[in-house]
């Protein structure tokens, strides 16, 4: 049963000194699934990913990665996992080809020349193979890193904010590539801050302050919080947002440029409040679908309210 999961970890915990960075995180990723890992900076995403690929030893908890025990079989896991670090971590003073050659040798790949040439062709970098990796732009570095991670045909990809600092066109290409990989049965765990990327994932997990707050497909995650959301258009939305903050039925207001999202658990109370406060002709109100972003902001506020910490 557990073999159908690429990642199956239970109650992972990690402390650095007196900082409890990861608290009882359990998550399951199926083979061929793109799993989005979301949460603000410093919420423990990188630490969790590192524990799953054997770079860090959990203080407590257990689990398997591709059927191998994350505590005992880190060598087996490393052979079958492609891990792309948050920061570009290939050698800028080596050429593109030299970087790929190094990786290929590290994994003891047969037919090294053919594989590296293949990867260079796929990348579209064959003509620039002898260029130093350090001279590549951000988007190309990211593509090189992905190609290097894929060189040993991993069954699972762990991508730590792969698209940070990459332009929208390159991001779109990158995600198309991820979907092709997932169609080939490769599981992908990808951490991101972008909502559009979150919506491209088959499943999501949201962590905040080391706690996993929600997990599931995007609609499930949205539904799980039972929020009703209205969208308000008009002038002075900032003033309206302030006025609504502590009104009955209003759990949160989020300003998206020209529209204000107002959400609450108690839909009826929220609707009454809106009719009173924003019922004038100056505002246009319409019911809308609760979005992922509304839910994530809500989850974060709930959690920081509980722990007393600032978001």
């Amino acid at each position: 049963m557990s073999d159908s999961y690429a990642i199956d970890v239970r109650s992972l915990n990690k402390r650095f000194g007196d900082k409890h960075v990861v608290k009882n995180v359990s998550l399951q990723v199926r083979r061929g699934e793109i799993f989005g890992f979301l949460g603000p900076n410093g919420s423990g995403k990188t630490t969790t990913i590192r524990m799953m690929c054997g770079l860090l030893t959990p203080d407590a908890g257990s689990g398997t990665c591709l059927g191998y025990d994350i505590l005992r079989d880190s060598v087996q896991i490393k052979r079958r996992v492609g891990y792309m670090t948050q920061r570009f971590s290939f050698w800028e003073d080596l050429t593109i080809r030299e970087n790929l050659d190094f990786v290929a040798r590290m994994y003891g790949l047969g037919d090294r020349r053919k594989r590296v040439n293949g990867a260079l062709e796929d990348l579209g970098l064959a003509a620039r193979a002898n260029q130093l990796a350090g001279t590549l732009s951000g988007g190309w570095k990211q593509r090189l890193a992905l190609a290097a991670c894929l060189l040993h045909d991993p069954e699972l990809l762990l991508l730590d904010e792969p698209t940070a600092g990459v332009d929208p066109a390159a991001r779109r290409d990158f995600w198309e590539e991820l979907h092709l990989l997932s169609a080939r049965g490769i599981a992908v765990l990808v951490s991101t801050h972008y909502m559009d990327e979150a919506e491209r994932c088959h499943k999501l997990a949201y962590v905040f302050d080391g706690n996993l707050l929600a997990q599931g497909a995007a609609p499930e995650v949205v539904a799980s919080q039972g929020l009703s959301t209205w969208q308000v258009y008009g002038e002075n939305l900032v003033g309206l947002s302030e006025a609504l903050k502590n009104a009955s039925g209003v759990d949160q207001t989020v300003l998206f440029g020209t529209r204000l999202h107002v959400s609450g658990k108690d839909g009826a109370a929220l609707e009454r409040t809106l009719a009173q406060t924003a019922g004038s002709a100056a505002f246009r109100i319409e019911k809308t679908e609760t979005g992922l972003e509304d839910v994530f902001i809500y989850l974060m506020k709930q959690a920081s309210g509980k722990t007393g910490g600032a978001p």
């Binding site: 690929c53 770079l55 670090t85 971590s89 290939f90």
Partner: protein, 380 residues
């Protein structure tokens, strides 16, 4: 628009404050600011002695008399010589000198006293290990004076005829290994160690901290590779660099400085390789502790300073106080200096070198264990 905006005291002060704040956070730099002057003061002020005394001396005495005893006692009371024992014959004396156990061997020939009493001006032989001319020069000068001192003190009464005029006996000094007392012969082989010590520790230290600083270490750690493979794999190029450096120095020593090598070149390389390994492990251990390349450089400096001062490279080892010798005795350069000078100048054999070989091996092993303990395979 103004092209220049005059000097602002508050801006200037904010710069000064920022600099102090950063300095306070950087513990190692702070440690250097305090530590380096203290270390230098202690080392140069107390440890270095260019007029070394209490040098180990052995006596071969084929003639036991009041005079010979008196002479040996006078040697001791000159403070230059510490009589550490007696040896049966000249061969034992040579081997004690070769191994570096003693600096001097005093050889009193048979019938010395008889010839002395007959006024025949017999000769007494002092064989000196003159590898380091600075270490033995003063003591030998003092020994020359002893004949006269002993004569004035002991040869009174009926023997007073011996005390007048010429010295009653002759102190013949035989400088071994470096008979002309050429400083270069001592310094150039020693430089091999100093150069290797500096570059090997620095280069490995930087090589590993660089990987960590740039984040590439995380990438390596995520691959199925063992710490042993990473470490040794990273070291091989530096061993090769070490061998190139040795070769450059050896060629320069031979053709530029005309320093003869009494021993075999193979042994020179063997000893150097051992020393390179010792320093590479130090480099790894430091890089495991240093957080960035700057810290690795600072640590190298900390390591280099005592090595160069306390190893006997610059200043005579025997001249240092006991505590400084004790510190010197844990530094690999101390042993390498003895090895390389032993091979270069004394044509030492393996058994003479062994007492300086095993400490290097033990050092390497201990530091290797420390390095592997601190080298984090996982990132925590």
């Amino acid at each position: 628009m103004k092209t220049s905006n005059g000097f602002s005291l508050s801006r200037w002060w904010s710069m000064v404050l920022k600099e102090f704040l950063q300095l306070r956070r950087d513990r190692l730099t702070f440690g250097m600011i305090i530590g380096i002057p203290i270390a230098q003061l202690v080392l140069f002020g107390f440890a270095i002695n260019n007029d070394p005394r209490h040098l180990a001396t052995a006596v071969i005495s084929a003639d036991h008399s009041e005079f010979t005893r008196s002479f040996v006692a006078a040697m001791e009371s000159s403070e230059y010589f510490d009589i550490v024992g007696t040896l049966p014959d000249e061969e034992a004396g040579r081997s004690a000198l070769a191994s570096g156990n003693v600096q001097f061997v005093v050889n009193i020939p048979a019938g010395f006293t008889g010839r002395l009493l007959r006024g025949e001006r017999p000769a007494l032989l002092i064989e000196a290990d003159a590898t380091d001319p600075a270490a033995t020069g003063m003591a030998l000068a003092a020994a020359g004076q002893l004949a006269r001192t002993v004569a004035a003190k002991d040869m009174t009464g009926t023997l007073s005829f011996l005390a007048g005029g010429q010295d009653p006996f002759e102190v013949r000094v035989h400088r071994l290994y470096n008979p002309e007392g050429i400083t270069r012969y001592n310094i150039i082989p020693g430089l091999i160690g100093v150069i290797l010590c500096m570059t090997m520790v620095l280069m490995t230290g930087l090589a590993i901290t660089r990987e960590r600083e740039r984040g590439t270490m995380e990438n390596i750690l995520a691959m199925p590779v063992s710490p042993f493979e990473v470490m040794t794999g990273k070291l091989i190029p530096y061993i090769a660099i070490g061998l190139i450096q040795i070769t450059i120095i050896l060629v320069a020593a031979r053709f530029l400085f005309r320093v003869p090598c009494a021993g075999s070149i193979g042994m020179v390389y063997g000893a150097a390789l051992l020393f390179v390994l010792a320093n590479l492990t130090v480099g790894i251990a430091m890089s495991s502790l240093a957080r960035n390349q700057l810290q690795a450089m600072q640590m190298t400096l900390f390591y280099f300073l005592p090595n160069i001062i306390l190893s006997g490279f610059m200043f005579p080892f025997q001249g240092m106080p006991k505590w400084a010798q004790a510190v010197g005795n844990v530094l690999p350069l101390t042993y390498f200096n003895r090895l390389i000078r032993g091979i270069f100048l004394k044509d030492n054999l393996f058994q003479d070198l062994w007492p300086n070989i095993w400490p290097l091996m033990v050092f390497t092993l201990i530091v290797m264990v420390i390095a592997l303990t601190f080298y984090r395979r996982t990132l925590d």
